[in-house]
Amino acid sequence: MTASIALNLTPDVRYVLRIADTCLVHAQRMSEWCGHAPVLEEDIALSNLGLDLLGQSRALLGHAAELEGGGQSEDSLAFLRDESDYFNLTLVEQPSRRGGADFADTQLRCLFVAAWLAPLWQGLSASRDRELAAIAGKAAKETRYHLEHAGDWVVRLGDGSAESARRMQAALARAWPMVAELFDDDEVDTAAADSGLGPRASALREPWLAIVEPMFADALLALPPDTAFRSHGKRGTHSEHMGYLLAEMQHLQRAFPGGVW
């Protein structure tokens, strides 16, 4: 068993991995709340949301392995890639409970990502890739519950006590510089849109705003102005938190290569 795998990263493989990795890393962060959420109901809810995301990423990683064509599997893609071969959004790799982040950061991030996934799944349902369209058609139904749950919490905290509003504002300030990446196009987006594989990132901005803005109005929050900072997780350049996340997530497969349940 080799230490890390080398991949043939065609534009199609990169496009699918961006979505698969965003779901996988988002699920990993969500699962960190298991046993630590403020109330039992929320402990169960966040674990369930993480489970949905993990299931979505498993289907997408399995499909990416087929597209890649080099004999990889969902497991080898999840556990044997190096950091620069992960293409998730930088936002989802941010700590859940360190560096000042708290429960508000998790709910806000969950809303931002669900509002991004909802139009993405919808666009992918019409993909020329029928397997990708089938995975998206299924995931779209699950994302509705994520949107409802996270949206409820963002409103409750934003329009709650002075302390909860202050914390939600702080969470927004931490997340916002990484939100532009959700809608930044590059050559992978262009290839996907031109070939009918799926929507380009910039096409998700209007439907995202249509979901988030009414919830923000209810939450007494305002979307901040655009920042000059740009994150590039979707291109394989990650924040300092990604290496630690992978070290924990990949530890067992690295320590016991090929180990199975």
Partner: protein, 165 residues
């Protein structure tokens, strides 16, 4: 006996066996009641092709259900069995028939209200114990991804609600 008659009877037997394979998380319903079995056919080699549609993407029972189906069909002397997972069209609670909904309510789980496209966020759920419509949601997520937790304001009993999806 013609080949066609043999093929039909093994498919019929397989459906009967599958009707006795219970979902491990919701043992009031069989995999047929839940609409998980989308097709049973006899392959050229005489084996059975079973087509399943998974419920939630991350449902941890998916592998257990496959194993239960294999062992039940093997015990009935049917097989070899090939199982394929079909994602499209995606599974929906709209596939739960009237019989399945009654079994859920008898088991103490409120069946999904209305159709999944229109009523995904419906809150008016009838209590499966006393039928009161005066209920409230305690948590959007229950013991499994497919259920939410409710409480009846009349009989005061908590209950689970099978969410429409």
């Amino acid at each position: 006996m013609s080949a066609a008659v043999t093929a039909d009877s093994s498919v019929d037997r397989a459906w009967r066996v599958l009707g006795s394979v219970l979902d491990p998380e919701v043992p009031a319903l069989s995999v047929v009641d839940l609409g998980l079995v989308r097709g049973v056919s006899v392959a050229g080699d005489g084996g059975l092709d079973i087509v399943l549609t998974p419920t939630y993407s991350g449902c941890p029972a998916t592998e257990a259900i496959e194993a239960d189906i294999r062992s039940a069909l093997a015990a009935a002397g049917l097989g070899p069995v090939r199982i394929t997972q079909r994602l499209s069209p995606p599974w929906t609670t709209d596939w739960l028939g009237a019989d399945a909904r009654r079994k859920l309510a008898d088991y103490g789980i409120a069946p999904p209200c209305g159709t999944s496209v229109v009523h995904v966020l419906a809150r008016n759920v009838a209590c499966p114990h006393c039928s009161s419509a005066r209920t409230e949601r305690l948590a959007a997520f229950g013991s499994t991804a497919c259920k939410a937790l409710y409480r009846c304001l009349d009989c005061r009993e908590p209950f689970e609600y099978f969410k429409p999806i």
